[in-house]
């Protein structure tokens, strides 16, 4: 496979065309906007938590195929996970798209491994994740206040 085919794998193109969980969630516990100043892309993450478990997650926004597919795959992977599990998946993902290391049990995230060969696209792939991690942190902070 050429580098460009590794970047735009079939699964990525499919998620770009028909993204999963591309939806607003009413009464979300947290709604957070993320922004990529490099390209102007914008994403909004919606999160619902039940006893520390992500019970629903959705996203909206404008972005390239990589950012959209990454967000779409992320939502399918994080639903049903605890915050700690989500953070662990994020760390694996982060490592994979920055240095190409494919960790254990990354599952279908592996289709995004090709991104590490395109440094200018890492920010596209990671935008939804950073926003989600920040959203989880905010929920945590609010929990602390209660």
């Amino acid at each position: 496979m050429s580098e460009i085919q590794q970047l735009y794998q079939q699964l990525i193109l499919e998620h770009n065309r028909n993204p999963k969980n591309f939806k607003e969630i009413e009464h979300a516990d947290c709604k957070l906007e993320g922004y990529n100043p490099l390209c102007g892309d914008q994403i909004t993450i919606f999160l619902k938590l039940e006893n520390d478990v992500i019970s629903d997650i959705g996203f909206q926004g404008k972005g390239c195929a990589i950012s959209k597919a990454s967000a779409s795959i992320m939502t399918t992977m994080l639903k049903g996970k605890t915050k700690a599990e989500a953070a662990e998946i994020f760390n694996k993902f982060h490592k994979m798209v920055t240095d190409g290391t494919i960790g254990e049990n990354v599952g279908k995230l592996e289709v995004l491994a090709g991104v590490h060969k395109f440094p200018s696209r890492v920010k596209c792939a990671i935008l939804a994740w950073h926003t989600t991690m920040k959203a989880l942190d905010e929920i945590k902070a609010e929990d602390g206040k209660r």
């Binding site: 050429s2 460009i4 970047l7 735009y8 193109l13 770009n16 065309r17 490099l38 390209c39 102007g40 892309d41 914008q42 404008k62 972005g63 390239c64 195929a65 990589i66 395109f118 696209r121 596209c124």
Partner: protein, 405 residues
């Protein structure tokens, strides 16, 4: 004057030579490729007379000073300035604008005064004024643009409170060429000073500071074949004489005591520290290169290619071109429905075609158009219609790849 022979011109650019798949470089609004003569001028300085300027009492320093000052003179002549000391070398157009924002605006603006710019400015002609307004209490106002990238009712926004009017001569997104001469006249009638950002215009059309009558002109070297790291500020002599220094250091002083100092004559007053000598000399060589062809010929050639490109791109289904289709410089911003500009740029790169994708350092324009980003193809004197054809083919291929239809 020689005829416009694009193949002969291309042959002078090493970046286009001897490749299996030649580079199709369509990001000239970002920076341009360099001809051999510019590269040689830089190399020659470093290999034959590398020395500081305005200091050494020895031959190579005198030679360096001579070449550096000769570049200044040629740049002055290129923009019709009758006094070469009204050219201050800077790191680029951004620094030229900041120089005015710090050394002029902060000493001349007061609360209640207005700085007027336009909605089509590059961030480099927005942020320095936001900061100057913040520091002086002046108000920053914008002349709006419509969806074709044209200024709307500019005259309405110029008033007696306007102390500085800063405007781009050509938009880096729409390619719009603004009527800067007419607007300068109006601004002057209210006593305002006028800064023209010529970074995008000067590579492509004749800029004459006497005709424009602008007070300041910000110039970029690397967008007109010169090395990066060099640009210039033109300012009227009397304004430069009165202005406070910008950066302090060596070169810009006359007498220094422990407590105070007096300033050098212009333009050295504004050139603290060792300048980008090689780059400035390279800038002189770039001006020579353009003069040998003739800026009017370049403008005509690019105009024809831009019209051709707009016609060809318009044939692509789902294509949206931003700005006025008929009257513009060689810059085309566009989007293809269903294809994000980032993906497009990435896929075109596989065909060795370089375009820009993003917000082009003009986020207010993107908000106006209600798009996160656009693709942008921008031409220069070495581009060809065959390259435009290749661009269109590659866009069709990208659409197919992402299966948008």
């Amino acid at each position: 004057m020689m005829n416009f022979d694009v193949e002969k011109i291309r042959a002078q650019f090493p970046m286009f030579a001897g490749k299996d798949k030649p580079l199709i470089y369509l990001d000239n609004a970002a920076t341009t490729q360099k001809p051999q003569s510019v590269i040689d001028a830089v190399t020659k300085y470093y290999s034959e007379y590398s020395a500081n300027v305005h200091r050494g009492i020895y031959a190579i320093s005198e030679k360096a000073t001579h070449e550096y000052e000769s570049a200044r003179t040629r740049i002055a002549k290129f923009i019709g300035a009758d006094f070469e000391k009204s050219i201050v070398f800077t790191r680029g157009a951004t620094e030229a604008i900041n120089l005015v924002a710090y050394a002029w605006a902060r000493h001349n603006l007061n609360p209640g005064d207005e700085i007027l710019i336009t909605e089509m400015e590059h961030h480099s002609n927005i942020i320095p004024w936001q900061l100057a307004a913040r520091d002086t209490g002046a108000t920053l106002r914008y002349i709006p643009i419509d969806e074709t990238g044209t200024l709307v009712e500019s005259e309405k926004y110029i008033n007696p409170k306007t102390k500085l009017f800063a405007i781009t001569q050509q938009s880096n997104v729409f390619g719009t060429t603004n009527p800067v001469k007419e607007l300068t006249e109006i601004a002057h009638s209210f006593g305002a000073k006028v800064l023209v950002d010529a970074a995008q215009a000067m590579p492509h059309l004749m800029v004459d500071v006497v005709d424009l009558d602008c007070d300041f002109l910000a110039i970029s070297g690397h967008k007109m074949l010169a090395p990066t790291g060099v640009g210039a500020l033109f300012a009227k002599q009397e304004i430069l004489e009165e202005m406070e220094p910008f950066l302090g250091g060596g070169e810009m002083i006359e007498q220094v005591t422990m407590e105070t100092a007096t300033w050098s004559e212009i333009p050295q007053k504004f050139e603290a520290g060792t300048p980008n000598i090689a780059q400035a000399i390279g800038f002189g060589a770039a001006v020579d290169f353009i003069n040998q062809i003739g800026i009017e010929k370049i403008k005509d050639y690019e105009g024809e290619m831009t019209r051709y490109a707009i016609a060809k791109l318009s044939e692509i289904s789902g294509m949206q071109i931003y700005g006025d289709l008929f009257c513009r410089g060689p810059v085309i911003s566009f989007n293809v429905s269903g294809v994000h500009s980032h993906d497009l740029a990435q896929l075109l790169d596989m065909e060795n075609i370089a375009i820009r994708a993003g917000h082009h350092c003009a986020q207010p324009i993107m908000r106006k158009l209600d798009v996160p980003a656009t693709a942008r193809a921008s031409f220069y004197l070495y581009n060809t219609k065959a390259e435009v054809d290749a661009l269109c083919e590659a866009i069709e291929k990208a659409k197919w790849f992402l299966a948008t239809d």
